[in-house]
Symmetry: C2
Subunit: 197 residues, 2 copies
DNA sequence: TTATTTCCCTAACACGCGTTAGTATGTTAT
DNA sequence: ATAACATACTAACGCGTGTTAGGGAAATAA
């Protein structure tokens, strides 16, 4: 009889969630079937339901675990006594690291959250909106004390956040350059594009 | 009896393709059903098949019409006798305009091409790869004659192209700033981020 | 008007989906 | 060894999907 393999301190549910992230990333949430997932896990589809409540629950878990990580990090950064540019650089490095090291999860939560159902959907959208507002506030503070070019802060946030998702292509292209080089290049262009002079 | 309304010089098929773009953008290709599309068009699902061959054909048309526009434009730009930075600025402005004025199509072709079937899939992926290579070559030329910072060109391309897709949020947020302001801000940050000094 | 073509309808198909019920097997605790 | 539990299986459900067939209505051509 097949059995879901677990390593120490990893529940069977966590194994499923992880495999789901990879599958949702590859095929998209709607196109990925529970039978696909079962096969990836090495078990029959019905057996998954001993560990999870529904397919959507998998998406919840992915989206909110990612969202929480970003929320906690921006809490930290906001509290630090450093320049606006330094805050933005820290945030961007965090985004890049997350996209590099937790690729599947982050990608899925970024692209597939539309398929969440209320009340999770509105909740998620709210968190996203708030996060962007807080990011924009940092930029605006930087503009006021002339660290940063006079630009529209919300637009700058859009650019920053979406640029990071380009790392998807880096993953697919088999990492032609190292993660560190990737990070430095992105910081150079993006933070450099904001900085005054 | 219901009938698909057409204006002059617009075929019924074109009406369907346009509505499909809006629907695929809103729900995603897989989640959008032919019955949804039929309702949007004002007709029964089966009736659509008098005008189209399949659901996938709709995706083909969208993806390749967008891809062709970008390919033709980069042809033009490459042929011009202007600096690398000017070429990049022209390309970026084109990307932004396309994303602003043909939002649904461009968005769909950017996010849903995964659901194309071979041979269209490989064809599309190829075109994309080639386009990015050509874009990167322009950047590399700019680096050689010191117009542009010493950065990894393919990474810069990723950033540029993905940043543009942030315009999606601008569309959803009901266009707080004008399209022109949006464009100028994006150019300032992105082209500014590349430029040497 | 009549003949022809274009378009849309209803009905139905085969299929894949997420999920549940009921049962058997393997693991852990007594 | 035996009881209790966790986890897997098979079988099946109701539903929504893309698509086809065949017939009737509306527009166009004669």
């Amino acid at each position: 009889m097949a059995r879901i393999k677990t390593e120490k301190n990893v529940s069977r549910k966590e194994v499923i969630v992880t495999k789901a992230a990879a599958l949702f990333r590859e095929k998209g949430f709607k196109a990925a079937s529970m039978r696909d997932l079962a096969e990836a896990v090495g078990v029959e589809a019905a057996s998954l339901y001993n560990h999870i409540k529904s397919k959507t629950e998998l998406l919840h878990e992915l989206c909110f675990s990612v969202a929480n990580r970003f929320m906690h990090y921006i809490d930290e950064v906001e509290a630090e006594k450093i320049t606006a540019i330094e805050k933005i650089e820290k945030l961007m490095r965090f985004h890049i690291d997350e996209m590099v090291h937790h690729y599947e999860e982050v990608y899925v939560s970024d692209r597939e959250w539309k398929h969440l159902a209320d009340p999770y959907l509105s909740n998620y959208q709210n968190q996203r909106r708030i996060y962007r507002k807080r990011f924009a506030s940092i930029i605006e503070a930087g503009i006021r004390n002339k660290e940063i070019k006079k630009i529209d802060a919300p637009t700058a946030v859009l650019i920053m956040l979406h640029a990071v998702s380009g790392i998807e292509s880096w993953h697919r292209s088999k990492q032609r350059i190292s993660a560190e080089e990737l990070e430095e290049n992105m910081i150079t262009i993006l933070v450099g594009g904001l900085t005054n002079k």
